[in-house]
């Protein structure tokens, strides 16, 4: 069975092992170790890790399309944000009449914009199952339409990158408009509960952290299964010689579309986990710069390895957390320099280094993609 194939790969098992260990460790240090003890991991840190994990899932989604399909999407932030908004709408509805205006149904921003009733597209978001479904379907649908148009007309390389950028930019402007009914620039915030748990309780935070971990694990295995399958090899073939793949009888554009949609859904899921942990979703998640940053995480971690994406996402965001606290005036220098140095001197990213170390010990597992430097 193709889905179980990854569990025979050493790399995957190692990854899952490390992830699981980390999750358990954090949980223990948070729950078991008393507050004030040097080893205690406080709610703030748990929350932070949860955020990193959702970012990591996003990075994996990007690596799937960029690393293995050669599509440099500069618009994956859009799918992430859409997933986030779907979740945000659910959380908004959970507030009920505890908003500042105490309106039983309408979110605060609608009250003071004088809306008398919920717009149709808010219907159903008070039901968890519906909202969570939308978390996957909305980004998926957008990816389907956009990808269908783009791949059908064989938009490739830089052109594709730029129009994905245009896509997310347009969405950002659209969501900024208050008429859209998504809270304009303030977005959605002041969440209270998720599935009946108080979002501001440490338990909820721990729960979300663990959920993110599980989601990451599932997403990772799914992507592994895909890239490990024959379909994955068709993707790599497409990435390196699209025309040739066509002459072998593969309908390249459909493979691209399939993987693109899967990736978009994963990104949406990541967004949905991200929002309740940071407590706000607003149009800035659509900003093209954010989407570029995601790509940078992947590049820094090492593309076409999946675990590299995870490493990159966590590394960069951890660095951000530290730098913005330690050297507020100069952290951008550090970040910028990091990007430059890695792209120039570590073309295969951090994962490249690891793979190199491992190669020394045993022969490389037949993950062909890591084998060769590719220019998408």
């Amino acid at each position: 069975m193709w889905l179980t194939r990854p569990f025979n790969e050493r790399a995957t098992l190692t990854f899952l092992g490390v992830l699981l260990a980390a999750m358990i460790l954090v949980t223990l240090l948070h729950v078991a170790v008393p507050q004030g003890h040097p080893l205690h991991v406080n709610a703030y840190t748990v929350n932070l890790f949860g955020k990193y994990l959702s970012y990591a899932l996003l990075a994996v989604a990007v690596d799937l399309v960029w690393g293995y399909l050669g599509i440099l999407s500069l618009g994956h932030g859009a799918f992430f944000a859409l997933g986030g908004y779907a979740m945000g709408m659910y959380l908004m509805r959970q507030i009920g009449d505890r908003g500042v205006y105490g309106h039983p149904e309408l979110p605060d921003f609608m009250v003071f914009l004088n809306w008398d009733s919920l717009p149709w597209y808010w219907a159903g978001f008070d039901m968890a199952w519906f909202a969570f479904l939308m978390v996957l379907l909305v980004p998926g649908a957008l990816a389907l339409v956009f990808g269908f148009l783009a791949f059908r007309s064989r938009v490739t390389g830089v052109y594709l990158s730029i129009i994905t950028q245009a896509l997310t930019f347009a969405l950002m402007l659209a969501f900024f408009r208050n008429e859209m009914g998504f809270g304009g620039s303030d977005g959605l915030t002041d969440f209270r509960e998720i599935l009946g748990f108080n979002l501001r309780s440490n338990e909820a935070r721990l729960g979300l952290f663990l959920a993110s971990g599980v989601a990451l694990a599932v997403g990772y295995v799914l992507c592994r299964a895909i890239v490990g399958s024959k379909l994955g090899r068709v993707c790599v073939a497409t990435r390196d010689a699209e025309a040739r793949t066509r002459f072998l009888g593969y309908r390249v554009e459909r493979f691209q579309l399939f993987v693109f949609v899967v990736s978009a859904m994963l990104a949406g899921l990541a967004g949905a986990l991200y929002v309740p942990q940071v407590g706000i979703i607003n149009p800035s998640e659509f900003s093209p710069l954010f989407s570029i940053e995601i790509v940078l995480w992947v590049a820094l971690g090492g593309r076409a390895t999946l675990y590299g994406a995870v490493i990159g996402a966590i590394l960069v965001n951890y660095a951000k957390t530290v730098f913005t606290g330690v050297m507020p005036d100069a952290w951008l220098f550090a970040l910028g320099a990091m990007f430059v140095l890695v792209t120039v001197f570590l073309p295969k990213g951090v994962a490249g280094l690891l793979a190199y170390r491992i190669k020394r010990r045993r022969r490389p597992d037949d993950d062909g993609a890591t084998g060769k430097e590719v220019s998408a």
Binding site: M1, W2, L144, F148, L149, R152, I226, S229, K230, L231, R233, V234, V236, A237, R239, D240, A241, A243, R244, T245, R246, F247, L248, G249, Y250, R251, V252, R254, F255, L257, F258, D366, G368, A369, G371, K372, V374
Partner: protein, 279 residues
């Protein structure tokens, strides 16, 4: 408004809904049939009402000076380039001009490129696996496993192409000649009805050439083969029917001796080594 049309056939996005292509019909006549094909790139006529028919099981060599339109002709047959006018039929049932590359390929037309293009990031084995004739729609591909029978076929081809010991190495490290072989191997995996082979022996040693010649002649009969080649020696060694292209249209056709004695051919093509050829 093709945009609307595309939206209309959106449900065709997923492959498993697409009916498999019907088999080639060669009961009455040729397997490949080009009529009055013309294509021009901003003014310049690369193909100028070209007429060409390949019979089922035939081995045909096509020669001609650079810019005679050999590669362009291949592009037209495989759907990469669309002609301005003319007709291209595969058997008597399939109008190739209405199909795209993958459709044409799945009909059973295999192509080997002038510049060998293999998937360098994949291993030799995987290259052959991808090329293999199989259900090439998304879900089957996703769930495809590795049956013993498939393995045997791949191994068999690995032997014929002499790449067996390299099967686990990424194709990127192969030499030019080995890549040629790998690509021929991929052709074999496809089990096509018609092979289009563009300069197969470039960068090959003498004995490699001989083996290629054997291979191609061996294929002929079961499958139809069209070889485009510069190397006269090689052509002579395999050729039965030869077609000479010049400025995008057929200049002469016949067996090697007829062709090479044709004054027009000598003039436009054989040129310098004409006397040697005629003698």
């Amino acid at each position: 408004m093709s945009f609307l049309r595309s939206l209309a056939d959106r449900e065709r996005v997923f492959d498993f809904l697409v009916p498999a292509a019907s088999p080639v019909d060669v009961r009455h006549g040729p397997i490949l049939y080009l009529e009055d094909v013309t294509v021009s790139f901003d003014g310049f006529k690369a193909i100028d009402n070209l007429n060409l028919t390949i019979d089922d099981g035939e081995l045909r060599c096509i020669i001609g000076p650079n810019g005679a339109g050999k590669t362009t002709m291949m592009d037209i047959i495989t759907g990469k380039t669309r002609p301005d006018t003319g007709q291209v039929w595969f058997g008597s049932r399939h109008n190739l001009l209405t199909m795209n590359e993958p459709e044409i390929a799945s009909l059973g037309i295999g192509r080997k490129f002038q510049k060998p293009t293999v998937f360098e990031a994949l291993t030799v084995f995987e290259n052959l696996e991808l090329a293999m004739a199989a259900d090439k729609r998304i879900l089957p591909t996703l769930t495809a496993g590795m049956s013993g029978e498939i393995r045997d076929r791949i191994d068999e081809v690995l032997l014929t192409t002499g790449l067996a010991e390299l099967s686990r190495r990424p194709a990127g490290i192969l030499s030019h000649g080995q890549k040629q072989w790998l690509e021929i191997g991929m052709l074999l995996m496809q089990r096509p009805r018609l092979l289009l082979v563009d300069e197969p022996v470039a960068g090959m040693t003498e004995q490699e050439m001989e083996r290629t010649a054997e291979l191609l002649t061996g294929l002929a009969g079961k499958q139809s083969v069209v070889v485009v080649e510069h190397d006269m020696g090689f052509v002579r060694s395999i050729a039965r029917q030869v077609t000479v292209l010049h400025q995008g249209s057929v200049l002469a056709e016949g067996n090697m001796d007829q062709v090479s004695s044709d004054p027009r051919v000598i003039e436009v093509y054989l040129g310098a080594d004409a006397d040697e050829e005629v003698a």
